[in-house]
Amino acid sequence: MSTDDDSLYTSPDDEERHRRLLDETEYDTELGLEMARDAQRVSAGELSEVEFYRRYHERIVEEFDIDDREIDLPDPDEAEGSGEGFLDDLGSVLADVDPETDESRRSVMQKGAAVAGGLAVGGWGTVQNAAGQDGGGGADAPGDDEEGTRWGMTINLNNCDGCLACMVACDQEHNLSRGAHWMYVFAYEDEGQADENFLPRTCQHCTDSPCTKVCPVGARHTRTEDGLVLTDYDICIGCRYCEVSCPYGVNYFQWGEPDVPESEIDEDTQYDDRGRWVGNRPPEGVMGKCTFCVDRQDGAMGEDLVGTTACEEACAMDAIHFGDLNDPESAPNRHLREYREAQPNDTSEFPDRKEHTVSTFELLAERGTEPNVTFVGNEPSPHAEQVEGPVTYEEMGLVDDRKEVLDDGATATQGGESA
């Protein structure tokens, strides 16, 4: 990436900051901001690179007074085929403008063009990945780098009281069939822990997810723009290999006809911002699991709900914190920080102690999956055992053991014919 300021601008605050930067220059503020916005659309795959070129080429020349040959932009049609995008070239060309001959142009490069060019170049890499196979085998998964969005959670087990409200909320919002629990709350007893403990379990949206590696058709994939691990319901062949490879048991196959028919599902919640069917419950014969409420993240349920999940919203105990792990001020990061700050360690006598007394863990970290969910509390030991919680699944109208539902289905459909 070519510039200092190369994070993706997502918040209105950022835009305001760039407006001010651009206003300081003698160049067109609106052009800079427009380009920045469209560059984001390029990175989201909504706008083609060539279109972006066509749209701004003339105005760039007009505004910055650099003509075609000086910039040496490739032919837009060639740019499609060639591995390097013209945006990369644009970025480097702008970066190469000789500072001595034109001081003001230099400031444009650093300020205004940094917004447009730098951002676009930053976004372009993403598009190239997305055009192939999003995070197909995990190699091009977003990883832990600090760029872009990486949705994740901090779940504070110390706050959870096992009310199961999150399970109900998730089941309802996603129209899941009985016994399929994208969110599942364990109540368990463990050696050396006096009380019952609770552990809410979503999909861990692993950065190095085995489920995406093993999927034979690339239906299970990591969305490059934000690290969500999703299933393309239009492609999945229902082989259940992802389910078998996941160490956490978070996948729920649609064994028979879904309880909620297609006609009752809002289409906006099904298709994500790339137009792929990854949201809401899966159709028959296809794999489903927690999506980190992808429809909410894409704004399908309103801008207010971006950065929230149904389970988080339902939690009255402030146990679930969802947000962008790359943003230090996001809910999961802030909660972790504040919780730690509230429980300082006594370092006066033993300066080598860590600063807080908060224990955190990732589930089965030793499996190498790099989960994006961090738990606050004590990790259940191998001897922990699930027990009946203060609120039972039945009380909340939930079926715990899905096999009971499926066995009913099996005998009902086989009638008296089977021996």
Binding site: V214, P216, G218, G238, S418
Partner: protein, 440 residues
């Protein structure tokens, strides 16, 4: 220990094609009946989805998402691979004793691979998408997904075997054409497109190279490679991980395949009085291979059990303890051990040897390897590293729909042999006549 069967005449070889017995019709009816039963059940699965199986989600779902279908898939692939390895060994190492059953082994490979493919088809939730989803994804997913490796290698194997079979069939058909049923003439003409006797030498060399490729590929890629890797590479299940799975799968494949060949060969020998064409020596030899592969199978099971219970990590230890306390596992081991002991005993005391007894032992071995394979899949899935769930270990007994598929595929293999034996000689001409004799 080469056996000379060159005294056998062409009439004997062509007996299946030139006769039609009541027993044949009865066998055909049984095969079609088995297929019919399965189809009747399978219609339910098409109508209602996989809910008609006894599978469920692992985790809170209290079941296992893979079961008999996948176990049977591995089993059929094993039979197929062993069959072709055996036939390739005959050609490569010049094990002429087994020449009379080489083509039967190749045919078994084709039939068994088809059944394996069928099990994938009925295992998946959306069989309608197999082509539309798999083909476009192939270039990318073959880099990562062990399942895609399987699909690729199995397809390659199918093509290799079919080519191999076709090349050798052309030779026979061209020489026996006047004795083959005229109503199938168009088929024979198609088989012989572009054939001339000058190709024989080239074909012989090609067949040798194909056999070479098969022998090399089998342990590295196939039943010693991509099939066990389907399981051994996963981070989720304790009982599946580890390097021993490759050799272990291969030993099971070879054991089952020899059993399959024994059964098929004995059936043809019995049906067509082929005592001279497929002599006792063939069965004695196959029996010894069965015993030898069985021994390796048992040895590798021992490896797994010992490393699994002696100071193993908690979850693996637990999985192994459950495995060795499952009575069915001991049934599987017992069946293979019994066959091995019988075979070794009968080599020491030749009077103990009889073909019916060997067939019984082979059926036992096939039951044993099927049970072992299904248990491997199911028990593997019951012992995840993450076992906090009440629903882990999940419960599973195959449903009628699933069991019927097993019967259906056995019917398909039987049907395949019944039909093919009426069309082409199922024993090569080479078994009874040398090249030179034919050419003059």
């Amino acid at each position: 220990m080469s056996v000379d069967v060159t005294s056998v005449d062409r009439d004997t070889l062509l007996r299946p094609i030139e006769t039609l017995s009541r027993r044949y019709v009865a066998a055909l009816a049984v095969a079609l009946g088995l297929i019919g039963v399965w189809l009747a059940f399978y219609v339910q699965q098409l109508q209602h989805g996989l809910v008609v199986t006894n599978l469920s989600d692992w985790g809170s779902g209290g079941g296992v998402p893979w079961g008999l279908y996948i176990g049977a898939f591995i089993w059929w692939v094993g039979i197929a691979h062993g069959g072709i390895i055996l036939s390739a060994a005959v050609r490569l190492l010049g094990m002429d004793t087994y020449q009379p059953v080489a083509r039967l082994a190749e045919l078994l490979t084709i039939a068994a691979l088809s059944c394996a493919g069928l099990f994938i088809l009925i295992h998946v939730g959306r069989p309608d998408r197999l082509v539309t989803s798999v083909l476009p994804a192939w270039p990318t997913c073959v880099q990562w997904s062990p399942l895609m490796w399987d699909v690729t290698v199995i397809t390659a194997y199918f093509v290799l075997t079919a080519t191999y079979l076709l090349l050798t069939i052309r030779y026979d058909v061209s020489r026996l054409r006047d004795r083959l049923p005229p109503r199938l003439e168009p088929l024979y003409r198609a088989l012989l497109v572009g054939y001339s006797e000058t190709e024989d030498a080239v074909v012989e060399r090609m067949v040798w190279w194909l056999a070479f490729a098969i022998i090399i590929m089998a342990p590295l890629l196939l039943h010693g490679g991509v099939i066990p890797w389907l399981f051994a590479l996963l981070p989720s299940m304790a009982g599946w991980h580890g390097g021993v799975q490759g050799p272990s799968f291969l030993s099971i494949a070879l054991t089952s395949a020899v059993s399959g060949i024994v059964i098929v060969s004995a059936a043809f020998r019995y049906a067509y009085d082929w005592e001279a064409l497929i002599p006792d020596a063939v069965f004695r030899g196959l029996g010894q291979w069965l015993g030898f592969f069985g021994l390796i199978f048992l040895w590798l099971q021992l490896q797994q059990v010992i490393t699994g219970i002696f100071a193993a990590p908690t979850t693996l230890q637990h999985a192994t303890e459950v495995k060795i306390s499952t009575p069915l596992y001991w049934v599987a081991i017992g069946l293979v051990a019994a066959a091995m002991l019988y075979v070794f005993a009968s080599s020491l005391r030749p009077t103990l040897f009889s073909i019916p007894a060997l067939v019984v032992a082979s059926v036992g071995v096939l039951v044993g390897t099927l049970v072992e394979k299904v248990l491997f899949v199911v028990e593997g899935l019951q012992h995840a590293h993450f076992d906090l769930y009440n629903g882990v270990p999940g419960a599973y007994t195959p449903s009628a729909v699933e069991l019927s598929a097993l019967a259906g595929t056995v019917g398909i293999v039987a049907l395949f042999f019944l039909v093919v034996s009426k069309v082409i000689p199922v024993v090569e001409l080479h078994a009874i006549e040398d090249y030179e004799e034919v050419d003059t």
